[in-house]
């Protein structure tokens, strides 16, 4: 990827972020500097080096198939932006796409 041209508007659109022209330019600069740090790492000769999955050795813990009690519905819906008859209500994602483009 060309680090000078990180596709900020494209990524922002995929995440449904509405960025101003000024923000786009600022983020483009920041991404370029972050990605160029990585491209410096890319120049290292890594032949024979095992991939590092995690900086601290730990293994994935699996849960036994024992269900817990689910949370109280009212408590869970308290944080929802909008509720309709025990459903969370959200604007259609397709609609927000059309608004943006």
């Amino acid at each position: 990827m060309d680090v000078r041209r990180f596709p900020v508007p494209h990524i922002a659109h995929l995440a449904r972020l509405d960025l101003s022209e000024e923000e786009i330019q600022r983020f483009e600069k920041q991404f370029a500097s972050i990605l160029s740090a990585f491209s410096a790492l890319r120049e290292l000769d890594l032949t024979g080096v095992e991939p590092l999955w995690t900086p601290v050795p730990h293994t994935l813990r699996l849960a036994k198939d024992q269900p817990d009690r689910p949370y109280d519905r009212n408590q869970m819906l308290e944080d929802a932006p909008d509720v309709f008859q025990f459903y969370l209500r959200l604007p259609s994602p397709l609609r927000s796409v059309r608004k943006k483009q």
Binding site: L14, A15, L62, Q66, P70, R73, Q85, F86, Y87, L90
Partner: protein, 470 residues
Amino acid sequence: MTAEFEPVIGLEIHVELATRRKMFCGCPNTYGKEPNTVVCPVCMGHPGTLPVPNEEAVARAVQLGLALGAEIHPFSLFFRKNYFYPDLPKGYQITQYSASILTGGSLQGVRIERANLEEETAKSYHTETGDVLLDYNRAGIPLLEIVTHPDIRSPEQARAFLEELRLLLIYLGISECDMEKGQLRVDANISVRPVGSGSFGTKVEIKNLNSFRSVEHALRYEWERQAALISSGGTVEQETRLWDEFQKETRPMRSKEEAEDYRYFMEPDLPPLQLSRTWLEEQRAHLPELPEQRRKRYREVYHLSDKVLEALIADPAYGRYFEQLAEGLSRPELAGNWVAVHVLRVLKAEHLSMEDFPLSPDQLRPLLRMIEEERISHSAAQEVFEEMLRTGRDAASIVEERGLEQVSSDASLLPVVRAVLDAHPEIVEKYRRGKTGVLGVLIGAVMKETRGRANPQKVRELLMRELETS
């Protein structure tokens, strides 16, 4: 036109795993509960929560892998598939992307490309005003995505493969595969090419397939559509089409406003999934008898006809019932016939599962033993069976009460046989002149005299003996 073009078909199957809890949180794995009553901060994607994979879901995937002869990877990874849709509360789905737990293997000659562990999305409903209503009960149920190679060459083969895969999943206890409940979902991709060609055409993906029958119909429709298109000089467009069950046609899906761009990256909250050799061996030890192994055993041990065999294989519970019923009978194929014909007829008519069938194998067996011992005729047995279902009474008492026991003794039958011979001297005469076919008339007369209770085999013997000697 389809004669000149052969279809090249691949399938993508999503199966909900029948675990007790969800894939990454402690919520019970349920169906049909009140909206948003089986949720927690993890499956609703609250910030700061962490996923913990369910060991049983991993075990189920491995068991399927063993059954398919797949390569089971003791080291696999989880990824985030990012897309913006409210049925994914986190903004991404955890899946395995390019580091699957299973690759390879095959079923009915169709090669499996891979199978990935994933999580279900929430159920969403669209309102007239364009809003989305969400029920997160389903979010986070363990899901296995199974992808085949494009090895299938006809719609019928696709359906047969799916039927066999479903059977395998049910035998393994991986899923109940109820398509109406969305426990098993199928997408198909199909391209066509001139018969004999080794290259691949442009493939079309078909979604909204609600039954194996619609898979078959949609593939046939699409095969014909693509063949006609190419024959008339057109080109097939790479697209996703939806099957319309009412119009019996596929239609292009409203094109997405942007190309799919899921920005996969490794799930930072989950280290690699590593499975030890001993753990994998334990899964192998847990494997039940699989459909193909059961078919083989039933053929060898019970000598069942193919038709009876397939009826008994269709549900593992049918086989269990049959085997218990056959125990202690000298003709196990009689038990096979009775389950395949009479028991299954009742189950289908009453929409019952085997577990709900009112007669246990121990209750039904005495009736079959009476048939074996020729104490009752087949038609009498059916009458007794109906009465047992109605009343739950035992076979012997119904037979006795209704006087259905076959009469086989010389002492009871000989007087009737002699009376019939005396009453039909002209038929006796015909028989003696070599027209032995008239024996049937005499047997019929004896059966009528005994109101059907005489053992017809015994009647034949006695009649012949009397005709030869007197």
